[in-house]
């Protein structure tokens, strides 16, 4: 079957999709967006987390056919997504979901240097993950970033318990989570300073 949907602001069309394919498979294998990860494919690890019409979901559990006509944001589009959010809503008030209309207005731009990633503009949560040492093998990182970014959008000043609850669907095997907590705290603090 054919599936048309929007990924990171760009219309996409996937052809010859087998009906049992997941959104994750389509993103990774058909659209050249392998950032969303395939650690468990059973909704237990969160490494494939994307936003579907703004809502964080496990893309491994969304049937490809279900995304027809819908909006998806993946880790590849996170920096641009955060930038547009900043520009359009400021996100200072605390209650600042991103509307579908807003999501439609932006487009992901290619990284300047895809070899080293240097010169790439990052979202605050991405920068905080690097700075705080929250990345080791990095396989859980894309899903955690999408989940953490969405949490900070809803709750700019989370308590530790809030962070733990919001990220309880994302497994990490390397870090023991301490540096991930540091990173989210750091992103929240920087967000607070910026206001």
């Amino acid at each position: 079957m054919r599936v048309n949907f929007t990924v990171n602001g760009r219309p996409q069309e996937a052809d010859d999709v087998w009906e049992g394919e997941s959104l994750l498979y389509v993103l990774r294998e058909r659209l050249g967006l392998p950032g969303s990860k395939n650690a468990c494919e059973q909704g237990e690890c969160g490494s494939c987390t994307v936003r579907l019409d703004g809502v964080p979901v496990c893309s491994c559990l969304v049937a490809a056919g279900q995304v027809e006509g819908r909006e998806v944001v993946t880790v590849e589009g996170l920096a641009e997504f955060a930038k547009e959010r900043e520009a359009h809503s400021g996100c200072a008030s605390g209650a600042c979901g991103t509307s579908i209309d807003e999501a439609k207005r932006w487009e992901a731009k290619p990284a300047q240097d895809s070899q080293t990633g240097e010169g790439v503009e990052l979202s605050p949560i991405q920068q905080a993950f690097i700075d705080a040492g929250a990345v080791q093998c990095g396989f859980c990182t894309p899903g955690l970033l999408v989940a953490a970014d969405e949490m900070l959008e809803r709750n700019p000043s989370p308590t530790d318990a809030d962070i733990r609850e919001a990220l309880s669907g994302n497994l990490c095997r390397c870090t023991g989570y301490e540096k991930i907590l540091d990173a989210v705290r750091l992103a929240a603090a920087r967000q607070g300073e910026a206001v």
Partner: protein, 296 residues
């Protein structure tokens, strides 16, 4: 495999009538796991995501009419007052990502004894509205579960809504798992006090072939509360009544040994949860002006 994408409820019913083996998929949190791991290859997948009415709810006089696909996140955020037990149960479902997709219709359709919503529905009291091209009918929740992963649906029927009694008293819900988040129930328990009818109802999950109520325990407690005038005098329930209630709840369970836990543990844990929840709900009932919302 064919992927059916009905744009309306009527189209969905027609598709299900034409292809009774079609597997409905809404949140996908059960079905997609089975497909990803090659456990199931249905001839047809019937996508219900485009059907708006399944994602709506309505708070009525006596009931909440809950669309089958209302995500658990919405239930725990918006229906804590009306459906405190189900809201607590929703909060224990898997992870935030899963709660954003999954809904009660999926739990009912799968009818796994480990489904998190079942004990809360049993305790609150509910009817499942199912529909086919032949018409709709309401199945009382007590008659809905017919066997291990089997329910009272006919092959051409789809789950449309669940009509759940609005809480008229405190409700609680707990589940035991060997992790502090994102865990499938080793066993679960729900309790609802119904002061209007001076009754209590229970629900037990993952400790019998189907979700069940502990009816003897309910009957015992109803009689004991009545006898002691507890509903009126609001006294603390005696430890012996609480123990007897907990023991009867344990006895109602008919669990198995499996990789998640032993039968003996499940029976034990059901009793502990029953005793604690009786304590929590009764405290709430006694405490004047306290909220009916769950504690978590």
């Amino acid at each position: 495999m064919d992927f059916l994408r009905p744009a309306s409820w009527e189209e969905a019913l027609a598709a299900k009538a034409e292809h009774p083996t079609a597997v409905p998929i809404a949140g996908g949190t059960d079905v997609m796991v089975e497909i990803n791991f090659d456990h199931r290859r249905p001839e047809y997948l019937l996508d219900l995501n485009r059907i708006e009415l399944l994602r709506e709810w309505e708070v009525g006089e006596a009931n909440v009419r809950l669309g089958a696909s209302v995500p658990y996140t919405q239930i725990m955020e918006n229906l804590r007052t009306e459906l405190p037990g189900l809201a607590l149960a929703s909060h224990t479902v898997a992870s935030p990502q899963i709660r954003n997709r999954g809904g009660v219709g999926g739990n009912l359709g799968t009818a796994s004894p480990a489904g998190d919503a079942h004990p809360a529905l049993l305790a609150a009291g509910a009817e499942v509205e199912v529909e086919s091209v032949r018409g709709n009918r309401f199945i009382p929740i007590d008659e809905f579960y017919t066997g291990v992963k089997r329910n009272a649906l006919q092959p051409d029927e789809l789950i449309k809504t669940v009509h759940i009694k609005k809480a008229d008293g405190p409700q609680q819900y707990s589940k035991v798992g060997t992790r502090n988040a994102m865990v499938i129930a080793v066993c679960a328990f729900g309790l609802a006090l119904h002061p209007e009818t001076r009754t209590v109802r229970t629900g037990i999950g993952s400790a019998a072939p189907t979700p069940i109520r502990a009816k003897e325990a309910e009957a015992f407690l109803n009689a004991a509360l009545e006898e002691g005038g507890f509903w009126d005098n609001g006294k603390i329930i005696t430890p012996s009544i609480a123990k007897q209630f907990a023991d009867l709840c344990s006895a109602a369970a008919n669990p198995i040994d499996d990789v998640r836990g032993t039968a003996k543990y499940r029976r034990h844990a059901v009793g502990i949860m029953a005793r604690r929840q009786l304590g929590w709900t009764w405290e709430q009932y006694r405490g004047a002006g306290r909220t009916l919302e769950g504690a978590a």
